[in-house]
């Protein structure tokens, strides 16, 4: 049942059994104060003991080719250039492929790595170096095969626009552990935002305080963070003092507790003016750390964002969402093929992704942090050849793709699930997007069936009406 208070934020009987968890205090102080008097934010803490406290999600927007990175298929080499057997593509719809497509072998070599023997392609040498820390799922599947809907599905558990994203659910459930940074932060690299746009980090029908706060890589990390030119910190301080006095004066006159909240938010905004630049200032990082990630200070990159992600969770953010655009390897030209473009994307992300896991481990943070890497769907075992293109590329493929995860109480060194000989369909242990969410929530101490919010007469969940925890993935 939704609290119908028009000027007050919606609030639910949420996690009825939870005591007053850490979240209550933390949330109330941060971006999480809903308008209207005396109402608490929703955060109440987990349902049961949590293995993980936070998430870093590395979303490879556009979707990397699992067949060239993780899911080696020698049969593709045998059939390379031949038409794919029709049994695979009966009743199939493709985004761009027309007619009967031809199989495309991977031009890249695979090798077993580490004690676990994880099979990883030569395009990801750094990841291969930490193979034993990874939990690789080769049997992910989705229901959507266009970028926008598929990204929204991956991020919100439903392809329908208007549902809260994973990060906002988590902000709602657990709040932030930081006094002066948002619970849910979004970082973007690679020229464009994801196709799904702001819906990928929207709060849907949850109170808007739970939406992801996009830290930008140009200008102020948070919009309007800097004082205007010509107004120094002392002038601002004097202004804020005057403002607080005037607001307090009016509070005593009107009695509206909302004014109290506003006074507190101005104080917090001032703290953010210090905390956010401090967060973004990589000067305190050692050269060794910068090198490990491949960060060039002052240069926007995936590596910089990966390092920022670590700094954010160190400071108490709950969910850090990275997007790196450019994996949409259709093969219409060198800018989006698997010979030139795919290796370039790997180069942009491989070192930093591996460094992030290793760095978290070094700092003792990996146990409590879930790191997830993956796209919104997979890519076809066939060459796309759009308009007869001579560049090699693969079309969108919802039936099977690979992600990897690390930390947060997952079983390291595990490769889970299997696809058929061409990597077309899943043959063992399929993991749906809702399953993935259920499993991640489980590690965060949340029962995906009990994490609900009532909206327009229905109890909604991140996992919609599906999803189950894959216990085989858990340590």
């Amino acid at each position: 049942m939704q609290d119908p208070n028009k000027r007050g934020s919606s609030r639910r009987h949420f996690l009825k059994h939870a005591g007053s968890g850490l979240g209550v205090a933390a949330m109330g102080q941060l971006l999480g104060v809903p308008a209207s008097a005396g109402q608490q934010a929703a955060a109440r803490g987990p349902h049961f003991a949590a293995k993980a406290k936070r998430v870093i999600y590395l979303h490879m927007a556009g979707s990397p080719s699992q067949l060239d990175l993780f899911d080696e298929k020698p049969a593709l080499a045998k059939l390379d250039g031949k038409e794919i057997p029709t049994r695979f593509i009966e009743n199939e719809r493709f985004a761009f492929i027309k007619g009967v497509p031809k199989v495309l072998a991977s031009p890249y070599k695979f090798k077993q790595h580490g004690e676990s023997g994880a099979n990883i392609s030569e395009l990801l040498p750094h990841l291969a170096g930490i193979a034993d820390k990874l939990t690789i799922v080769r049997s992910m599947h989705t229901e959507q095969f266009n970028h926008g809907p598929a990204q929204i599905f991956l991020n919100t558990g439903s392809a329908t626009i208007g549902r809260p994203s994973f990060g906002s659910w988590l902000s709602y459930a657990l709040g932030s552990e930081s006094r002066d940074l948002p619970a849910f932060v979004v970082l973007n690299s690679g020229s464009y935002l994801p196709s799904g746009g702001a819906s990928c980090w929207g709060s849907g029908f949850l109170p808007s305080v739970h939406q992801g706060v996009r830290f930008r890589s140009q200008g102020d990390p948070v919009l309007f963070l800097s004082n205007p030119e010509g107004m120094d910190a002392r002038t601002r301080r004097r202004s804020l003092d005057a403002l607080a006095q005037l607001n307090r004066e009016h509070l005593s006159d009107s009695g509206d507790p909302e004014i109290e909240t506003r006074i507190a938010q101005y104080e917090l905004s001032e703290r953010m003016q210090t905390s956010v630049p401090a967060l973004a200032d990589l000067g305190s990082e050692s050269q060794a750390t910068l090198d490990m990630y491949g960060v060039t200070p002052g240069q926007a990159s995936f590596a910089t964002n990966a390092l920022m992600a670590r700094r954010l969770i160190e400071r108490g953010s709950r969910f850090v969402q990275l997007f790196h655009w450019g994996w949409d390897s259709h093969g219409t030209g060198p800018g989006d093929d698997i010979m030139t473009s795919l290796p370039l994307r790997c180069e942009q992300t491989d070192r930093a992704s591996a460094a992030l896991v290793a760095d978290l481990e070094q700092r003792g943070l990996l146990d409590e942090t879930l790191v997830v890497w993956g796209g919104e769907f997979g890519r076809t075992p066939m060459n796309e050849e759009r308009n007869g293109s001579k560049f090699f590329g693969r079309d969108h493929h919802p039936h099977a793709f690979t992600i990897w995860m690390a930390g947060g109480g997952l079983k390291p060194g595990l490769t889970y699930g299997a696809t058929d000989e061409l990597g077309y369909f899943i043959e063992a242990n399929p993991v749906s997007v809702n399953d993935l969410h259920a499993t991640l929530l489980h590690q965060l101490g949340l029962d995906h069936e009990r994490l609900t919010y009532s909206h327009q007469g229905r109890d909604f969940r991140l996992t919609d009406v599906a999803g189950s925890v894959h216990r085989a993935l858990l340590a």
Partner: protein
Amino acid sequence: MIPSLTPPAVRPLPAGSPWAPIATLLLCLGTQPLFAATGAPATALQADTPQVDFKRQIEPILEQHCWKCHGEKKQKAGLRLDTKKAALLGADFGAEPVILPGDSSGSRLLQVIAAEDEDERMPPRAAALDSDQIELIRQWIQAGASWPDPTSKEQGLFTDHWAYRAPQPSPLPTPGQMDWVRNEIDRFVLQRLEAEGLEPSPEAERETLLRRLCLDLTGLPPTPQQIERFLADDSEQAYEDLVDRLLASPHYGERQARAWLDLARYADTNGYEKDERRSIWRYRDWVIDAYNADMGFEQFTLEQIAGDLLPNATLEQQIATGFHRNTMINAEGGVDPEESRVAAVMDRANTTGSVWLGSTLACAQCHTHKYDPFSHRDYYRLFAYFNSSEDVGPGDGPRLLAPTSQMQKREELAVAELAQLDLELSAWEASMETKLVQALAEASEREADWKQIVPSTYTSNEGSTLALLNEGTILSLGGNPSMGTYEFSFELPAGPALQRLRLEALTHPTLPEGGSARSTHQNFVLSEVHLDLLPLQAGAEEVPISLARASADYSQPGTPTWPAQATIDGRPGTGWAIGSGVGQPHQLVIELEAPLELVEGRRVRLRLDQNYGGAHMLGHLRFSVSSESGDGSPPFDGRIVQLLREAPLLGGEHDGVLREWFLRNTPLLKEPRDRKRELEARDPLPTTLVMRELETPRTTHILERGSFLSPGKAVTPGVPGVLPQPDADSPPNRLGLARWLTSPHNPLTARVTVNRLWDQVFGRGLVGTTEDFGTQGELPSHPALLDWLALQFQTDDWSTKRILRRMVLSATYRQASKLSEELRKRDPQNRLLARGARYRVEAEMVRDIALSASGLLNPNIGGPSVFPPQPEGVWQITYNADSWMTATDENRFRRGLYTFWRRTAPYPTFMAFDATSRELACLRRSPSNTPLQALALLNDPAFIEAAVALAGRSLRAPAARDEERMTLAFRRCTGRSPNAEEQRVLLQLLVAEREHYAMDPDAARQLIHSPAALGTEGLDPSELAAWTVVCNVLLNLDETITRS
């Protein structure tokens, strides 16, 4: 918790009762389940028995905690709690009753869930039920454990729901304190207050009332003149006159439209990945006009839902159907057009349900609604009304040319003037022969400066083959690389020093579309030109030749530009291109820094880098050199040069082209020609998206699980079965639907609409869930009043102005919003209306207040959407290079509702203040209070500009003292004068900043940038800066952005 709604079952509990702590707790928190339990249906408001709603309150508890072991799959201890029969029979498959209706303490169910002993408690090895859940179950059993039979769900279980019964007239209440009452509304409100033992609040200060009315009715704060006028008018009629003035203001329509556009999900782009622009602002303006004309809500509904189907539909009526063309369009590559079309139709059905019926139908698109009486079939019958429109994704048709009458007039004038100009110009043509011959001779003379050179070597480094043609030109053939470099070498004959090099990009029939480039777009990008002097002897160094200037007869306009000069700027990312001038020969002339002496055997190398990609490569080239220095005039039209080379005089086949060229270029005709160009470049008439019906309607099928790939049974258009049905002769199309929506039998539309208007002026609907009148929604706080308003609305011809007028004239509306400690405890949400409402204004109004207070506001109404300042990088859209061009003219300061609305990247400051993306209808914005709002108000350049302008205005005011200026500025922001303490704080700040900026004039100048636009020229920068700081504070006051 609202005391009157508190059930006796809770209220009279003795202090020692075991339930007392819970009751107290619930009382304080206003906890929802109990609230719902006690908020009885409209007619039962006075009844005392608490009603627990099984479906809403009990079943979810059972489902969550019990069914896992006592449900369909498992029946531990032989107990099943998911069906009525089995549950009431009890454990051991019916041998052991666990629920004794009317006897909660004797019921085993209650005993086990409430057990202290963990070994006994249910559910086992899990957390206990919340105390409020236990209490609900106790109440439910005590009240008889009513358990509606689920199989009867579709047969009218819900027809009892208050909202599905027609509004009932009731006699006007007669409260005791009749002298407080100003109109009917007050009688309902006061009666309720008296029953609660509450007094209404005193009337608010006149200044407060003025600002409240201005904001509620026009969305703009009062100006100092309005304040003076109102305060000076102490007649009886003053208040009413003010209301009438505001309702007659053209800004009234803007205020109403702002709210309606959230429901209409109006935006200026298509949404989804590409999120391209669309033109539908004429719909936005239609809404403003309709409100200003006080179009009855009946007609307002009819035109928006079915304007296109009206006999002899006017342009305006068709524009109105844009309401349902505001759906998103997905133009992503792999989208199935049918999937996209179905998604839009679903959105239309859902939006219609939410906006007019206050009902959430979306659930029923996959399955029969869980709570409300809408079946899967009902949904697709409603869907069917919208399923025969012409539009299909991913295109954006049907569109209509939709000029305003003013635009239409201007267009007609322009067309007439153009015809006149053409006549004049052709008259000139006849008499121009000699002048033309002269001009051609001149052109030929200029051309004679040039001497063609033919490359001795020519290579392409990536895939294409260069061939030398008979005319000495070079053609690119064969492989078509994305990008690359052409390299040529020339042996230059001895002669006068070389000053200029010319490169002609010629057309050729073998190139795409017979153009001059290798790309299918016929455009090329010449990124860099390098010219090197090759050594005379082998082994010696080659020497780069410095290039001074590059010019072309034409280069591609737009953003970014592609000028000739870019070919020698050393930057590989820029270049010369000819987009919009493709298909014609063009020429590029490069002047050398210093004349190049030509001795025997001199060789130069020319390299042409073409880095753009996508085969934007030159196709056909001719080279020439000149030993004359250029006279600064731009190179000749490449096309004419070529023609003159073929036939230097008139009398050939090219005469027509030459004449046209001459007429276009001769200075003799500059004036009429310029005028013609100006007219030809006029803005095209706007188009707008409209609904249009297919000639043959589509058959609608129930879609299983909502999937367009799983059509089930066919259905005909129709309205939900639970509601009164349309007349038998009602047409089965949108026209029939629209008429049904506002028919007197429809129990929902009028109630939902007046409730939304109530929400707008009282800060909260009589039904708090303005979007949900279903069984999961809130019950009305004043059911009889809601019905009275709904009926009055219809009696008043559905006039929005008249019903709003009634609301704001009431004594209820005029109450002060001061929140006493008692009221804060008893009625934090103000459901009883014992005080005025106080809340932060909506996003667009935050902007409008700042613009209005500072005097920057451009009050123009309507027109294409505008681009006020927004931070760089907010627009960054996949596969879309569209960019935000910040307005530097008067459109910089338009009201918020005109700001361009891009769905994937809405205006950030609006988002910070809880606006939504408009991807879907937003029925109610969810207000927040965040530090991001503080940062935006403090630092957003748009608000800094407002602070500067307000400072300038204050300094220019004819006032002698700081105090007077301060009072004026304070008034512009808050509508009232500051008290002594407020004056003191502000003056103290002013003094400090005055001192600060006097010592740091550079900082002052930085703060007050762009004085011209802000009307602050000539003011002392330091003084202006000090006042800017103060005004920044004023614009940030809670009171400034709050309606109280």
